[in-house]
């Protein structure tokens, strides 16, 4: 099997999707000749031309609004937002239009489309190139919100998203773009948008995460293992709709739960995971539900490494919860 970085895997998925189906088009800022500021769309412009790979004026409102129109017309547009922090000029089109089109038209009109965007910290980009905003989208019924954490998942989830009948917000953890290579299957395949991945099994503490935090959680799980704590790590892959059943199953086994996200804590998605367990499986809980998260502040520049939850912060939470009696 070929080895790829997440960026290469995403680029591979893009090429496959556009070859497979002429209705797949892509649009965004600097995605044409430049191939995207991270290179995710490299090679597409040369291969598919400017009718299917469209550099746009500087307007996220226009990118998403026109993509909605394309989807209504019958195309399968993939819109790139250069950084997730810049998605807000197009937020209205997402929450009022894309998410509600099927519902408000009684199923007559649908928006099978993807808005993909690099998300999270890791590139020393200060607070306008680093935020993790999945919670805004996770509170918006009608959307699917997907975040891969491995190259193989990234490819299979992006393909599944492009060919899905629902609108998808596809958030790419930019810190993992070049995090290392891993096996990626050749050719077309999908990874289910509805199933979490049990990244590692364990009996003592359930650790739930998604996107960029998953590798950090893996490191924390290694450290915990050294201390004799068996961590069951669940990578949600999708935060809306999300696979609560897998989490609840695990908590029934371990009795202990930590949820880790990079986003600020208050009203982040970790709170949803916690609240769901506190509602559905409280009787299995033997300890408080730990949350690890960014702080409730904007994202800083110089002290990015202090802000972002690291393996030690995750480990501390795991140890705290594991040690609770």
């Amino acid at each position: 099997m070929p080895q790829m970085t997440m960026l290469e895997a995403l680029n591979d998925a893009y090429h496959i999707a556009m070859e497979k189906d002429a209705d797949v088009v892509t649009l965004g800022e600097d995605i044409g000749k430049k191939g995207g500021v991270f290179g995710t769309t490299a090679g597409l412009y040369d291969k598919f031309g400017d009718m299917r790979v469209m550099d746009t004026p500087l307007s996220e409102c226009g990118i998403i609004g026109t993509a909605v129109g394309m989807a209504l017309y019958g195309l399968k547009p993939v819109a790139e937002i250069q950084f997730l922090d810049f998605i807000y000029p197009g937020f209205d089109q997402i929450v009022s239009e894309m998410a509600k089109m099927r519902y408000r038209s009684g199923g007559e009109w649908t928006c099978p489309m993807v808005v993909r965007s690099p998300s999270g910290g890791g590139i020393r980009g200060g607070h306008y190139h680093s935020q993790s905003s999945e919670a805004y989208f996770a509170h918006t019924p009608g959307l699917r919100v997907v975040m891969p954490s491995t190259p193989g998942d990234a490819k299979g989830l992006l393909l599944a998203s492009i060919f899905c009948d629902d609108p998808v917000i596809f958030l790419e953890p930019k810190a993992l773009y070049r995090h290392g290579k891993a096996d990626v299957e050749e050719g077309y395949y999908e990874v289910s948008l509805d199933e979490a991945r049990i990244a590692r099994e364990g009996n003592d503490v359930t650790l739930v995460s998604w996107g960029a935090m998953v590798p950090t959680c893996e490191q924390a799980a290694d450290l915990a293992q050294e201390k004799g704590i068996g961590v069951e790590l669940i990578d949600l892959r999708s935060v809306l709709p999300w696979d609560a059943a897998t989490v609840i199953e695990s908590v029934k086994k371990t009795g202990r739960l930590v949820v880790a996200q990079e986003a600020p804590r208050t009203c982040g998605f970790a709170s949803e995971v916690s609240a769901t367990v506190a509602e559905k499986a409280v009787e299995y809980l033997e300890a408080p539900i730990g949350r690890v998260s960014g702080f409730d502040t904007p994202f800083p520049y110089t002290l990015e490494h202090v802000y972002k939850p690291d393996k030690k912060r995750v480990l501390n939470a795991v140890e705290y919860v594991a040690g609770w009696e």
Binding site: C61, G62, T66, V68, L75, Y103, R104
Partner: protein, 371 residues
């Protein structure tokens, strides 16, 4: 590129003028009928709302020429992004009144399954895209749909409808800009009815006209007498021709007037100078067209009476049918959120059914729309 700042007019205020080429008596009659139908539909709609039988209504009184003139220039394959004030187009296109009233009652026959307020129609069979409440959002979508038609090589025009207020929206700027750069076959129809609820057009923009805004996007802008059905038809026809010839988008401003309240919840007396209203009442688009038709010997009182009786009959029948159709099933709260209902929603639906089994039906405590 012509930037017409003068007003395009065909029928003068006295009802004189030459019909655009290509239209014959049947067309004139169909246009008049649709305009009259719209006026009567609006009167009935406001009444139904006043009687508490529907929750809300948006009339288009005064704008019938602006809407029917353009709609008459549309091709069947054209795609339409309407506004909440353009139901006249559905009437012209022969959408059944039952479908329209079902939507307004939000009943079990409603295509949108009781999920939207009255006037928020969807008619996929005539390429009428679902209407949204947020102002402007359909403008950038129309630019995108027009781009999609280009990509697919389809020969058609996409029409976006909006008001003077809509020109201030983010999506107006984005939609026209993208369409300009892409040279997409998109027609941007701005009905300048002088008001955005209570905000007058001169507080909407300092631009000397809305049509002038086309300059900013490198497309032609046309300013049209929106109470003159032939002028609107002619401008729209030209714009469509341009679109189909690959010459790109056009912005059309129909200068007209909202002769009623913004909606059933509004009272213009609080902000509108009565003289302004009166001056526009004299320019009623239906009367103007009627005069022209009468001069041509097409309009007669007998015909008018026949039309009115016919239309009122159709309306009465459809109202009765819609009113006696039951509410949608509670499942409709949960369907169409996704292509397939996810577990979470299945559970919530089950919970709701359980509550109703235990506690009985949920009381409707009402609530009246203020806007």
């Amino acid at each position: 590129m012509a930037q017409a700042t003068e007003l395009l007019t065909v029928i003068d205020p006295k009802g004189k003028g030459k019909a655009p080429a290509g239209l014959d008596t049947d067309d004139f009659k169909a246009m008049y009928r649709a305009m009259l139908f719209t006026r009567l539909f609006d009167q009935r709609g406001m009444n139904l709302q006043r009687q508490g039988r529907i929750g809300f209504f948006v009339p288009s009184t005064g704008q019938e020429a602006s809407q029917i003139g353009a709609a008459y220039a549309m091709g069947q394959e054209d795609v339409l992004f309407p506004s909440y004030r353009t139901h006249s187009i559905a009437l012209l296109k022969g959408i059944s009144l039952k479908r329209m009233y079902d939507q307004m009652w939000g009943n079990d026959g409603d295509a949108v399954k009781g999920r939207q307020m009255p006037n928020h129609f969807t008619f996929k069979d005539i390429n009428w895209v679902s209407i949204s409440s947020p102002i402007g959002t359909q403008i950038s979508q129309a630019a995108g749909a027009a781009r999609a038609a280009q990509i697919k090589g389809d020969k058609l025009a996409v029409w976006a409808w909006f008001g003077d207020g809509g020109t201030s929206s983010n999506d107006f700027h984005a939609g026209l800009n993208f369409a300009g750069v892409w040279k997409s076959p998109c027609i941007f129809m701005c009905e300048n009815n002088h008001w955005a609820i209570s905000v007058p057009q001169e507080m909407q923009t300092a631009s000397h006209s809305f049509a002038a805004k086309a300059v900013a996007y490198g497309m032609p802008g046309m300013r049209v007498d929106g109470n003159d059905v032939f002028a609107v038809y002619e401008a729209s026809r030209q714009a469509r021709e341009r679109a189909l010839n690959g010459d790109g988008p056009t912005l059309i401003e129909n200068l007209t007037f909202r002769m009623g309240p913004h909606s059933s919840s509004d009272d213009p007396k609080r902000y509108q100078p009565p003289e302004l209203f009166e001056s526009w009442q004299k320019k009623d688009p239906i009367e103007r067209f009627q005069q022209w038709l009468a001069a041509e010997g097409i309009w007669t009182e007998a015909w008018e009476d026949k039309l009115r009786t016919e239309i009122m009959g159709e309306i009465a029948e459809a109202v009765e049918a819609a009113e006696s159709t039951p509410q949608p099933e509670i499942e409709t709260i949960f369907t169409d959120v996704y292509a397939e209902m996810p577990t979470l929603l299945k559970d919530q639906l089950e919970g709701l059914k359980e509550q109703i089994r235990r506690d009985g039906d949920i009381e409707d405590t009402g609530g009246a729309f203020p806007l």
